[in-house]
Symmetry: C2
Subunit: 469 residues, 2 copies
C-alpha cells in the first residue's frame, strides 16, 4: 500500500507554520528535546548541517582562519562589562548557580555568544602588529532562552559558527567583513540555492552586513551577518597592539556568523506540499535508487552496481532495498526531498537504462546506464540551477512596490514583502513597528525626490518592509 504522505502534511497555504513543523518532524530532521524549547537534530537534519559546516570550514581555512574552542561558561561579570550586552542578552541567558555540589561564588552564564570570552583571550594573546591579522573561528552550541520556539528557527540551544578577526586598521577589518559576506552569499547561492537581498547598516567606522532571505510565506529570515566592529570590540575587551610606529593602539576587528537556522531557511524556501526539496549540493542523499520487481534476479545487483559507480564518482547515494512497496518509497523520498530518484527494473536493465525522476519538476527521463555518472551529474547541476531560479522567481513575486501605507500593510499581511521609500528616521521606524509589527528588513541608501511612505518627509532610503522569523 502506498503511504499517503501528502495527507500527513498540513497544506502550506492553509497554515504555513504547521506545514513547517509537520515537514521537519515527519522527515526526521529534528525532534523536540525533553526540555521545553530544545531540539534534537536527528541524523537526516544533522547530515545537512555537516555539509554546510564542511563547506564553510573549507572556505574559512582558505582565508587563513583557524578553528579554536572557547569555554562555554562565562563569568557573570563579563556580561556586565558592556551595557550593550546586558541589554541584548541578560533576559535570555541561562545561569549556572551550582556546580560540584556547591553554590558558586560567582554565577556562570552559558554563552549566548562567545564574544566576551574571545575578547578576553585576544587581549592576552595579541601584543604587536606582528601578531596580526589574528583570525579565529569556533563551531559550537550557544544558548538563548526563548519564550516561543520553533525547531531550527528559534530554540534555547542551537549550533553555530562565530568568527572573529583582529586587524591593524579599519580598512583591513572592513575588508574581512566584506570578504565573509561574499563567502556567505556564495554559500546561499551555490550550496543552498537561496536568493537573498542584502542589508547594509553603517554607523561611523562601524558597519553591519546581513543577508535576508524570503520564505514561501513572505516572511524574512536573516541568514548570515558580518560586522566591521571598528575599534569598538577591541576597546571593550582592551585589545591593544604595538603598531609599526611602536605606539600602543586599540586594534580593529570583524565578526561573522551563521547558524542551524540556515536549515530552517532551506526548508521554507524550497519545500512544497509533498515535503522537503533539497538542492543537490546540500542534499544528504542526492540520488535514491529503487529496485522495481526486486525479486527478479539481477535487479538488486544492478542497483548496487550503479550505486557503487555513482558513489565512487563522489555522489551521495542510497539504495532502498527494504520490503516497502515502490510506491511507498517514492512518497518517502519525495517527502525527504531527495533531488533525484532512479528506478531500475528488469525492463530498464534489458534496455540498458535507468528511469530518472526529478524532485523539482517531477519530470521523468531515461538515463543510459553506460554513461550514467555523466548524465546524473548533468541532471543534478540542472536541478540545482533550476531550484535557484524557482526561488528567485518566488522572491521577485513576493515583492510589491508601493507608495501607499495602507497598501503596504495589507500586502505584508497577505504574505508579501513591500518595497517603499522611507525617511530613515528611527522614530518613524519605531512608530510603524509598534503600530503594525512590521519592520524594515533591508535598507538601501537612495536619494530621490520621493516622500517617506509613513511620515511624508523627504525620503532618503529604499526599504524592504516585512515580517520576520
Amino acid at each position: 500500500m502506498a503511504k499517503d504522505f501528502v495527507n500527513e502534511i498540513t497544506d502550506m497555504h492553509e497554515d504555513f507554520a504547521q506545514w513547517y513543523t509537520d515537514v521537519v518532524l515527519k522527515t526526521e530532521m529534528v525532534d523536540y528535546g525533553p526540555v521545553k524549547g530544545t531540539m534534537v537534530i536527528r541524523p537526516y537534519g544533522y547530515a545537512v548541517w555537516e555539509i554546510i559546516q564542511r563547506y564553510f570550514d573549507n572556505e574559512f581555512k582558505k582565508l587563513g582562519v583557524q578553528n579554536a574552542y572557547f569555554p562555554m561558561f562565562i563569568p557573570e561579570s563579563f556580561l556586565k562589562r558592556e551595557a550593550e550586552h546586558v541589554e541584548g542578552f541578560a533576559p535570555e541567558v541561562a545561569v549556572v548557580t551550582h556546580a560540584g555540589g556547591q553554590e558558586l561564588s560567582e554565577k556562570l552564564i552559558i554563552r549566548p555568544t562567545s564574544e566576551t570570552i574571545i575578547g578576553e583571550m585576544f587581549s592576552k594573546w595579541i601584543k604587536s602588529y606582528r601578531d596580526l591579522p589574528y583570525k579565529v573561528n569556533q563551531w559550537c552550541n550557544v544558548v538563548r532562552w526563548e519564550k516561543t520556539t520553533r525547531p531550527f528557527l528559534r530554540t534555547s540551544e542551537f549550533l553555530w559558527q562565530e568568527g572573529h578577526t583582529v586587524q591593524p586598521s579599519n580598512e583591513d577589518a572592513e575588508k574581512d567583513a566584506q570578504t565573509m559576506l561574499e563567502v556567505y552569499k556564495n554559500a546561499l547561492k551555490n550550496l543552498l540555492a537561496i536568493p537573498k537581498t542584502e542589508n547594509e547598516k553603517f554607523a561611523g567606522a562601524v558597519a553591519t552586513y546581513s543577508l535576508e532571505a524570503i520564505m514561501k510565506d513572505g516572511k524574512c529570515l536573516q541568514s548570515g551577518t558580518t560586522h566591521n566592529l571598528g575599534q569598538n570590540f577591541c576597546r571593550a575587551s582592551n585589545i591593544k597592539f604595538l603598531n609599526k610606529d611602536e605606539k600602543l593602539d586599540y586594534a580593529f576587528s570583524s565578526s561573522w556568523g551563521v547558524s542551524t537556522r540556515l536549515i530552517g531557511a532551506l526548508v521554507m524556501v524550497h519545500g512544497d506540499e509533498r515535503g522537503l526539496r533539497m538542492p543537490p549540493n546540500v542534499a544528504p542523499i542526492q540520488i535514491v535508487i529503487i529496485p522495481i520487481a526486486s525479486k527478479v534476479g539481477g535487479v538488486v545487483e544492478k542497483c548496487n552496481e550503479v550505486a557503487d559507480l555513482l558513489i565512487s564518482n563522489g555522489f551521495r547515494v542510497k539504495v532502498d532495498n527494504s520490503n516497502n512497496t515502490p510506491g511507498w518509497k517514492f512518497n518517502e523520498y519525495e517527502m525527504k526531498g531527495v533531488p533525484l530518484r532512479l528506478e531500475i527494473g528488469p525492463r530498464d536493465i534489458e534496455n540498458g537504462v535507468a528511469t530518472a525522476v526529478r524532485r523539482d519538476t517531477h519530470e521523468k527521463t531515461q538515463l543510459n546506464l553506460k554513461n550514467i555518472e555523466n548524465e546524473v551529474k548533468a541532471l543534478l547541476d540542472n536541478i540545482q540551477n533550476n531550484m535557484y531560479e524557482q526561488a528567485e522567481n518566488n522572491l521577485k513575486a513576493a515583492i510589491v512596490e508601493t507608495d501607499d501605507f495602507d497598501t503596504l500593510v495589507n500586502e505584508i499581511n497577505a504574505g508579501k514583502v513591500a518595497l517603499a521609500y522611507h525617511c530613515g528616521d528611527s522614530k518613524c521606524e519605531t512608530e510603524i513597528k509598534d503600530k503594525t509589527t512590521i519592520k524594515t528588513r533591508v535598507i538601501q541608501e537612495y536619494d530621490t525626490n520621493h516622500k517617506c511612505i509613513y511620515c511624508g518627509k523627504k525620503s532618503k532610503y529604499r526599504v524592504y518592509f516585512g515580517k520576520q522569523y
Copy 2:
C-alpha cells in the same frame, strides 16, 4: 638571537607535571579560561583535535554510524532515574537554576554524558527490529565539575564523542563494542603512535573494554572505552522493540567514547625536554620549511615552490618567512613538535637539495629537490614508525614484574607500572587502593598457581598496578 626554549620548559625528570603544563601552554596548544577549571583550546591544539575527529568520523561512518545532536540540558529528574548515574555524576554536575530571567520550575543538568537523553529519544524512535541496528554518534562538549584540573586531562568542560548502537541481540551489541575497540586501537597506533595495554571487564552479559596508555612518568591514562551494555541501558531507558517473533523485548546496546584527553596522552607519551613531538599522521604541521639567508634572491621563492608541491601532494606544510633568525625558528618548531624541518639556502638550491632534520632523532639528511615529495613521504613514514617503536620501548621499560608487595609500591612510586598476580577480590583491591593510592589498571584472567601479591590467596588474575591520570 636564538631563543633558548629549553630553559623555559621545566625539566621533565624533575617535575613531570610542571613540564606538561609548560609544554601545553608555551606551544600555544591551550590556555586557561577565565572560569577556574576551564580551558581554551587554541588553534594549534584544536588542529590536533580536528585531525583526530576527522579520522574517527570517517571510521564511524564506514561502519554505518550517523551523527546527530542532542540538547545539552537534561531535566534533573532524568539523572535520578538510575541510581548508578546519581552516584557517578551528581556531585560533579553543573546545574542551571535560572533562565530567561526567571527561576526554573525544574533544574537543568548540563550533560556529563548524553546517555539519559539519548536513551529517552531512542525509546521514542525505536519500535521494531526493522529500526535496528540504530547507530548514532555525537561530537559535543560535556561538563564534569572537577576540583583539581589540568588542561586536556581533567577540565570542567571538555570535548568528546559519544557513540551508541542499539541492536536486536547481545551478540550484535558485543560485536559493536569490539569493533569500536578495534577502531580505537588502530587510531592509537596508526594516528597517535601510542602503544597500549588492554583491559577487559566482564559482568554477566555486560562487558567494558578500555585502552590504557602509559605516560613517560609511568602513570596510566585511559584512552578510549567501549561498553557492551547488554539490556541494561535499554531497560533503564525503556527501549523496547518488536522482535521477529512479534514479541516486545528490551533491545541491546553498546556505547563508546574518546575525548580531548587523547591530546594530553599524545603530549605525555612523546614529548621530551625540548617540548612536543608530534607523530606525522596527527601533526597539524608535518613539515616546516625555513629559508636560510632569505634575502638572497630566489631562496624564499624556492621555499614557497617546494611548499606548494608538497601541499599539492597532501602534506601539511608551513613556510616560516618571518624576521626571526633561523636558530630561533629551529627552536620554535622543535618545541612545537613539527616532525620534519626542511632548510633551504643558496647552497642547497645550487646543489638541488634541501637539508632535512627529523624531530625524533635529530638526524640530518639531504633530500633531492627533484624527488622531494617521495623522499619526504618516506621520511615521515619512517618517523611515524620510529616514534611508535620508541613509545613501545618506553612502555616495556616502564613495566616491572614482581611478586613482592613492597617492591610493587616502591617501583610504582618511582614511576613504574607493576605487573603482579592478584586474587581478584574487590575487597583486597580496595585495601590496596586505600593504603597506597595504587589502583589495578589492567586486569587479565590468568589461571596459575601463583598467590595474590597482597593477601596471599590463590591468584586468578595478572594485573597491571599503577597510578592514573
